[in-house]
């Protein structure tokens, strides 16, 4: 270290090996690993100056200190009482008091030293997913290192020779430890700043869990029936909105460490472009526009766009069951069943009974019926025009002219003529819309309350 020159800027870097972050070159296109022989030493990158720090909604960024030109981080793996959404908590495992753990943020060329203290009841290890480093620092328990026993602290140290969106996660007893939340994002900013830095750089890590309504711990044995789907460990309405000002250049880094599910992340009101994966930047010529980006398990996708369309826009996984929380997939579908007939038979036996779901699930969440302790309605929250019957991997991007304090909880006011509403008879007549014959509907069963429910 001491015999190496310390450079204060990337411009002084020796252009011997590959300098990543520069526009793609032929040599970069054929590179498969990083040259570790370069030996160039960079000054530690500084937030705000060398890079715009990322925003981790519902999360935080891991602080560091600089010791002898090395960025020193400290991760503490420990059990954590985690809240997925209001009313739903579970005993999870995480880092530094949260799951996902804090986002690690550094700059290409930084030397990082990461201490990992194990405060779990089980041995663990940490793998730096997608980061090119010496084999012994790769964190695979048993293969590249001994597992970290409980109450021990291991030191990882390596130089970052790449930039992009990466992750970190346990690599011992992955089934259990990842199911319980031992994961986080690892962002490496380019040493050579791009032509335009994003105004907002969001990090969203997807996860999935099995927590039965009323249970208090995720089930690591589950292979298929996940019922809590999260962005950064939160299920809607627990997800914090993405606040954006109009015409800002926005980057959204999507990571997926779900156990078994790929996610098609869909953005409303905008098109976005896939600019990078955890394998690196995609050349300009190879990018294409999208509105829905598939993020496979164990990978990241970096999306960029200009937020030029003001409003409240949902951003969610398009797999419909991934936008449900703890919904019982075990019940029997009541769709189309004669609710009156069932109520009349069952209510004498169970006075509080009321048939649900015979018209679908749209009104389910609003019923406000008592649910098991430590569970959350299967979806939704009150919105400006009624109930938002989405849950799980669902969040809102609020694009405003100016973001002011309190905007997180305010709703978009649609200008006149830009809001769907009921058509007037005059409009129907003018446009010669003929309506089908409707039979008079019986008194709405869907809106009655169970007998004895005075609310």
């Amino acid at each position: 270290m001491d015999r190496r020159r310390l450079l204060t800027s990337s411009l002084g870097a020796v252009a011997g090996g590959a300098l990543f972050g520069l526009p793609a070159t032929a040599s970069a296109a054929t590179r498969t690993t990083v040259s570790h022989d370069d030996g160039t030493i960079f000054a530690p990158g500084r937030p705000g100056r060398d890079y715009t720090p990322v925003i981790t909604p519902n999360g935080s960024t891991l602080p560091f200190k600089i010791v002898d030109g090395v960025k020193v981080f400290h991760l503490i793996a420990a059990p954590v009482e985690h809240e997925f959404a209001p009313g739903l908590q579970a005993q999870c495992w995480g880092f530094n008091g949260s799951t996902p753990g804090p986002t690690i943020e550094a700059v290409e060329g930084d030397r990082v030293r990461i201490y990992v203290t194990n405060a779990l009841p089980a041995a663990t290890s940490v793998h730096w997913h997608g980061i090119i480093l010496p084999s012994g620092m790769d964190g695979v328990s048993g293969l590249s290192q001994a597992p970290i026993p409980p109450q021990s602290t291991f030191r990882y140290e390596f130089t970052l020779r790449q930039h992009g969106t990466y992750m970190y996660h346990s690599h011992r007893d992955e089934m259990t430890q990842q199911a319980l939340g031992m994961m986080g994002m690892f962002i490496i900013h380019p040493r050579v700043a791009p032509t335009r830095r994003p105004d907002r750089d969001f990090v969203l890590l997807s996860g999935e869990w099995k927590v039965l309504p009323g249970a208090r711990r995720p089930d690591p044995n589950e292979m298929l029936e996940f019922n809590v789907l999260t962005f950064n460990g939160k299920a809607y309405p627990g997800t914090a909105p993405l606040m954006v000002e109009r015409n800002e250049f926005v980057r959204i880094r999507l990571g997926n460490l779900s156990a078994m599910s790929h996610h098609s992340i869909h953005i409303h009101g905008h098109t976005w472009t896939l600019v990078a994966t955890d394998g690196g930047d995609i050349p300009q010529s190879a990018r294409w526009p999208e509105v829905t980006q598939l993020v496979p398990v164990g990978s990241t996708r970096t999306m960029e766009f200009v937020a030029d369309n003001p409003g409240d826009w949902s951003l969610h996984c398009h797999m419909s069951h991934h936008t449900m929380t703890q919904m019982g997939h075990n019940g029997i579908s009541m769709l189309g069943a004669d609710a009156e007939m069932i109520d009349k038979a069952v209510q004498p036996v169970i006075p509080s009974y009321m048939t649900m779901g015979h018209d679908g699930m749209g009104d389910m969440a609003e019923m406000g019926m008592p649910v098991p302790k430590n569970s959350t309605p299967m979806m939704g929250a009150p919105g400006p025009h009624g109930y938002i019957d989405m849950g799980g991997m669902f969040t809102v991007m609020k694009v405003r002219e100016r973001v002011r304090p309190g905007d997180e909880t305010s709703w978009w006011q649609a200008p006149e003529g830009t809001q769907a509403r009921e058509a007037t008879p005059q409009e129907l007549q003018r446009d010669r819309i003929t309506l089908p014959e409707f039979k008079a509907k019986p008194a709405g069963h869907a809106h009655h309350h169970p007998p004895g429910d005075e609310s």
Binding site: L212, P213, G214, Q326, M327, G328, N330, G331, I332, S333, M334, L335, G336, A337, D338, A339, M341, I342, K344, A345, V346, P348, V349, I350, S352, Y353, T355, M356, G357, H358, M361, M364, M367, M369, P370, V371, P372, K373, S375, P377, M378
Partner: protein
Amino acid sequence: MHLFRPSCRRLRRPLPRAVLAAALAPVFGACAHGSLQRDVSAVDDLLRERAGVVVPSRSEFGAAIGADTVAKLLAAPLTPETAVRIALISHPALRATYAELGLARADVVQAALVANPVVTLERFTAGRFQEFGIAQSFIDLLSLPMRRRVAEAQLTGARLRVADQVFQQVVEVRHSLVEAVAAAQIREIRDRAQAAAAASATAATAIHAAGNLKDLDLVNERAAASEFQAGAIEARGESQSSRERLVRALGVSTTGAALVLPERLPDLPANDPTEDTLVALAARSRLDLAAALQDVNAAGKALGLTNRFRLLPDGTLSFAGEGEDGGPFESGPGFSIPLPFFDRGQARMLRAQSALRAATARHEALTLSMRADVRAAHALLTAARERFDEYRSRVVPLRRRVTEEAQLQYNAMAVSVFGLLQARQGELNAGQGYIEALSDYWKARIQLERAVGTSLP
């Protein structure tokens, strides 16, 4: 009793009249009826100590006083006390049982009687010869006090047996009441279980009609509902039958359907007596045991009587006279007795000794079986109490919680209407277990009262 023939010996010693009169007075003057009232009262006293209810007064013929109150008692919901009272007042079988006192009393009276004297008159017109004689068995007179003691001992035994039969009837009434109340409660629960299963089948029908259920599930639900229906029918039959059995135990002319039953079985008493206490109490209280002991006593007295008169089972004093028309009329006493040459009472002694040995052994056997009965009933009682406590403290509240939690899971759409109704079935099942345990407790307690021979506090 032998007729003294003048051709046999003549007894010249006159029997003092006073002695005869003194010996016979208590016999001829005995009034059986007054004593029968005493027997009835004695039985009632034995019952008062044991029945645990107010025992109605009773005439000497066994008819209880206060028959007019039966209708009033039947109009209100029965309690163990009123049910027993009704049976004591109106059950004809009890009157029959009391009438057996009269049979035993008749034996006493009979035993205290002396064989009537025999008068013979003879006249031979041809020879104008006349003869008269009066004979009286004197052994009867001599054995009279002992015979009376034997008969009284037997009467005491009879009183004990009658009291025991009445007590058994009292216990039977309580048992029948418990069964009838339990059967009514179980019938209600089975009806509710049937309603839950029918609701499940109705829901299945509606969901199937909407196209969301396979035929297999629908048919399964309907089969289950039908099975529950069969169960409810069975419970109804048992309930109706148990009411009639209660009517039989009460001995009234009403129908089972007309009986007014309490809504539920009474709660458990705070605690149960210990086994040792109960065994000791049984030794003091069991009427059949006392009767068996009285049998030993009576057999002993009978053996004494047999032994006293083994050589002279019979003997006659007589007075006879004869004469011819116009001739002198001569008269004088006579005496006849069989000589114990061949029959020296060996057979009678063997019979009496064997009867005593049998009575002693029977008493001993009854003592042993009584103790075992008490321990067996106590074991059932203890287990029933613990089982009931398990149901009351844990099974029922937990099953209720299961239903509540299932309702929450249903609200969260994690449990179907079928799962919810299944939880309710589990709750009803627990309710049935609760009632069965409680009724088993009371039946065991009643069984224990049988074994101990008295009602328990």
